[in-house]
């Protein structure tokens, strides 16, 4: 009787251990897969404290725009030898990436310091081969907003067209797919939702806010009213 009890006890223990161990022993193939989680923005980069991507005030002319990456086309037009059309993937994957911490200063009085990642506008322009009489680069956005910058400013500085901020892909309200990082210029030059880059010889061209009284130069160290 005692022997039977002991052997039953051993059997019970053995079965219990098998039951407990089974889920852990089996190699679940699904656990080896890498699941992509929501990206998390970084708030510090090389010792520089970064602003949150939610710290911007939404002040675009028609509110946030939803641009479909699949059907998106970036057009390079105007005074160029080779007008080009790029898909979103072609812009992102076929060009050298750059990262840079730049502060955006808005005329409304707020500013944000962000780690921007993108490509150089200069690289796109060089592929299109601008004509000698091209003096101004006009940026067009999905919502109809426009702004312009001198071609010398674009070619002589490392001006980014960003697709990531703080290591996160630009959200729609921040300008997905691309936002211009017009460093040393007031915020209204930092056009979002870029769809077209046009080269022009019209040095008197004024963009959306520039034609409404804001400075066309938009240098940060000068007033945003006037030339």
């Amino acid at each position: 009787m005692k022997k039977t009890m002991i052997s039953r006890g051993i059997l019970f223990l053995a079965l219990s251990m098998i039951l407990i161990a089974t889920p852990g022993c089996g190699v679940d193939m699904d656990t080896n897969k890498t699941e992509e989680l929501e990206p998390v923005e970084i708030r510090e980069y090389e010792g520089v404290k970064l602003s949150s991507i939610d710290a911007f005030r939404e002040n675009s002319i028609k509110g946030p725009q939803e641009v479909d990456a699949e059907s998106y086309v970036l057009r390079i037009t105007g005074l160029v030898m080779n007008p080009n059309n790029y898909t979103y993937d072609e812009v992102v994957n076929n060009h050298q990436h750059y990262k840079k911490v730049v502060t955006l200063d808005c005329v409304e009085g707020w500013s944000v310091t962000i780690l921007w990642e993108g490509l150089l506008v200069r690289d796109l322009l060089e592929e299109a081969n601008p004509l000698a009489n091209a003096k101004v680069v006009i940026f067009h956005a999905y919502d109809g907003y426009t702004t312009s910058l001198p071609i010398d400013y674009i070619m002589n500085n490392d001006i980014l067209m960003a697709y990531k901020m703080n290591d996160v892909t630009l959200p729609p309200e921040r300008g997905f797919p691309f936002q211009l990082v017009a460093e040393s210029k007031w915020g209204y030059k930092w056009i979002k939702w870029i769809t077209e880059i046009e080269l022009s010889d019209d040095v008197d061209y004024r963009g959306y806010w520039e034609s409404r009284g804001y400075s066309n130069n938009a240098d940060l160290d000068k007033s945003f009213f006037g030339d």
């Binding site: 005030r57 002040n59 002319i61 509110g63 005329v107 409304e108 806010w209 409404r212 009284g213 804001y214 009213f225």
Partner: protein, 84 residues
Amino acid sequence: MTNQLLVKVTIHWLLTVVIIVYLITGFGITEYRIVEPLTFGLLTKSLAHKIHMNLEIPLIILLILHICLPPILRHSKLKKLGNK
């Protein structure tokens, strides 16, 4: 109405008007998508911005006068009464 009272009332009303315009133009900058249609396109963002910036110094001067003038006037009035 004495001259002193007239000055006080004028400063008071000027300050009131400047504060109201300052607030409206502030909204005209930050909430231009609402303010511009509400004012039938009269108060554009850039106009609101210009007015707002030009009102900064008058607002400070009027505020200082509004705070400092009554005690000064009271003091001079008491001095006059004392002399009598």
